[in-house]
């Protein structure tokens, strides 16, 4: 029954929802970022971070510190929190939490396959993998020669198996095919996640639809921009777009034929939610586009935690009774928290790199404030 989730959500999800809201209050604020941006060395950064929630993870690191160590320890904190939540969760929350990590699994698979193609050492590649996306047989990915073997040897046992039906070919793996494979897998994953959230129903379905639609649209735009000037045909490009989201289906048809940045911008400006993003770009640089997308994503993720979404008014007929409570008893807070934390780690990496390379004037180019 829609609207009555508050009655039974807390049986299985109440404790974990309260925990994740507690974690969210430990995210770095604008004041913390200001302090960090004014640091001179990485040791200053370490000192500031020890005063925040990252304290226990960083305080035992010996100097001299590397930026990769900082990022690694912060990611470790994210992984610990995720594992704590996962082991306490019951169905369907545990499935939901696992879905959140499949994106990282896909990235890890592509990382190892690409690295093997360029003759890198497997151990070195394993260390670079994101810890949230690890699975048992990941090291055997280095053995596969083409996609069919990849699937048969390794991936058939992983949760990614159902996503491979669209991209099994006998072609050998090379850079272009790997990118296409990555995007095809990610498309299947997003659609699967979307279907799963729709099945859950209620506030989870509504809020996750919005967040996943934004993700799908953003990937569509990135695919379009990145494939400008490559050999990817229009039909292939269209096959990589997901089948949901604001841009589906008409926006996808227009994006598929775009040949440069201005045409992309022309297409996107027809959609009111994305217009402010593209209006901010002056010369079509893709770096500011990334930052603009991240800012929009952070804004939507924070909405999942607290404020009323205006989108909710469109879905039901009988008015706005009790919607504020809907925004408490749902699973989208978990997804939002993981994404916000990843954004924070990206921010920390950027700040550390700027400080390490003495380019503090560029710090604000890419830091997205969450609060």
């Amino acid at each position: 029954m829609y609207g009555f989730e508050a009655l039974t959500f807390n049986i299985h999800g109440g404790y974990l929802e309260a925990i994740v809201r507690g974690y969210r209050s430990g995210l770095l604020t604008a004041a913390d970022y200001n302090n960090l941006c004014q640091c001179e060395t990485l040791d200053d950064i370490k000192m500031h971070l020890t005063a925040t929630e990252y304290g226990p993870y960083l305080q035992n690191e010996p100097s001299p510190l590397h930026t990769t160590t900082i990022v690694e320890k912060c990611t470790l904190k994210l992984v610990d929190e995720y594992k704590h939540m996962l082991c306490q969760a019951t169905e369907p929350l545990s499935t939901f939490l696992e879905y959140i990590t499949y994106g990282h699994m896909i990235d890890n698979v592509v990382l190892i396959v690409t690295g093997t193609l360029h003759e890198r050492d497997v151990q070195e590649l394993l260390e670079k993998c994101h810890p949230l996306g690890m699975f048992d047989s990941i090291a055997t990915l280095a053995v596969a020669q083409n996609m069919r073997e990849l699937y048969r040897l390794v991936l058939v046992d992983t949760p990614l198996a159902p996503y491979f039906s669209e991209c099994i070919t006998s072609e050998d793996l090379d850079d272009m095919n790997i990118e296409i494979m990555r995007n095809t897998l990610y498309k299947a994953y997003l659609e699967d996640f979307y279907q799963f959230c729709q099945k859950l129903g209620g506030a989870t379905a509504e809020i996750m639809s919005d967040l996943l639609a934004f993700e799908a649209d953003r990937r569509a735009v990135n695919i379009s921009i990145n494939s400008i000037g490559t050999e990817l045909t229009r039909d292939d490009r269209k096959k990589l777009y997901s089948n949901f989201g604001l841009l589906y289906p008409y926006g996808h048809e227009e994006l598929a034929v775009c040949e440069d940045m201005d045409q992309v911008r022309g297409v996107m400006e027809k959609y009111p939610p994305y217009q402010p993003i593209f209006a901010k770009l002056s010369y079509g640089e893709s770096q500011t586009l990334d930052k603009a997308f991240y800012e929009e994503e952070v804004k939507r993720l924070c909405l999942a935690f607290e404020q009323q979404l205006n989108l909710l008014y469109d879905f039901t007929d009988d008015g706005m009774v009790g919607f504020v409570f809907e925004l408490q008893f749902h699973y989208a807070v978990f997804f939002a928290y993981m994404r916000l934390k990843e954004q924070e780690i990206r921010n920390l990496m950027w700040v550390s790199e700027c400080v390490a390379q003495n380019q503090k004037s560029r710090v604000h180019d890419s830091v997205v404030f969450i609060f």
Binding site: A6, G14, A18, R21, G22
Partner: protein, 181 residues
């Protein structure tokens, strides 16, 4: 028996069957609902609040630890206990149901068997049944409401202890008074 049926003016067989049910039945069911359903509502409310409260308290103890280090005003101690008031309100709802059940039970008197189906005793039976249902279901809804509000209160108290608590406590009181009235 048929004499009393003619006296009361029953017309169909269903209403005659209804009148044959002893008013003790109705009264007893009413009392059972008064206490049973209101305790159900209170318990439901307590688990809704309690699970959120425990999860939020994992992070919120930093409020009390800040007190130990910097000795802030007594307000913080007071504030940290606020969400537990929601649980206490739910408890009060259950107790109210128990009190009403006890009061109703004292109204159950021994009636000589010739008088059991007299209109006065039927009316008394129905009256106790009605009050039992009213109290029971009102407390069910009130307990649920206090529980949900208490859960939101616990979560927001963990984030920002100054602002939300007083507002939500007042709302708790309003809900509580509404149910009692």
């Amino acid at each position: 028996m048929s004499a009393s049926a003619i006296v009361v003016g029953a017309s169909s067989s269903w209403s005659r069957a209804m009148l044959q049910i002893s008013p003790y039945t109705f009264a007893a069911i009413g009392i059972a609902i008064a206490i049973g359903v209101s305790v159900l509502g209170a318990a439901w409310g307590i688990f809704i609040t309690g699970s959120s409260l425990i999860g939020a308290a994992v992070k919120a103890p930093r409020i009390t630890s800040k007190n130990l280090i910097r000795s802030e005003t007594k307000d913080d101690h007071f504030v940290h206990f606020m969400p537990k008031i929601s649980v206490i309100f739910c408890e009060a709802v259950a107790i109210y149901g128990v009190i009403v059940a006890i009061i109703l039970q004292t109204k159950l008197e021994n009636v000589p068997s010739s008088q059991i189906y007299a209109p006065e005793s039927l009316r008394a039976g129905y009256a106790i049944f009605a009050s039992g249902i009213i109290v029971g279901f009102a407390n069910l809804v009130c307990g649920l409401c206090v529980g949900i509000i208490g859960s939101s209160c616990a979560l927001s108290d963990a984030q920002n202890s100054s602002l939300f608590v007083k507002i939500l406590v007042i709302e708790n009181l309003v809900v509580h008074l509404g149910c009692l009235e």
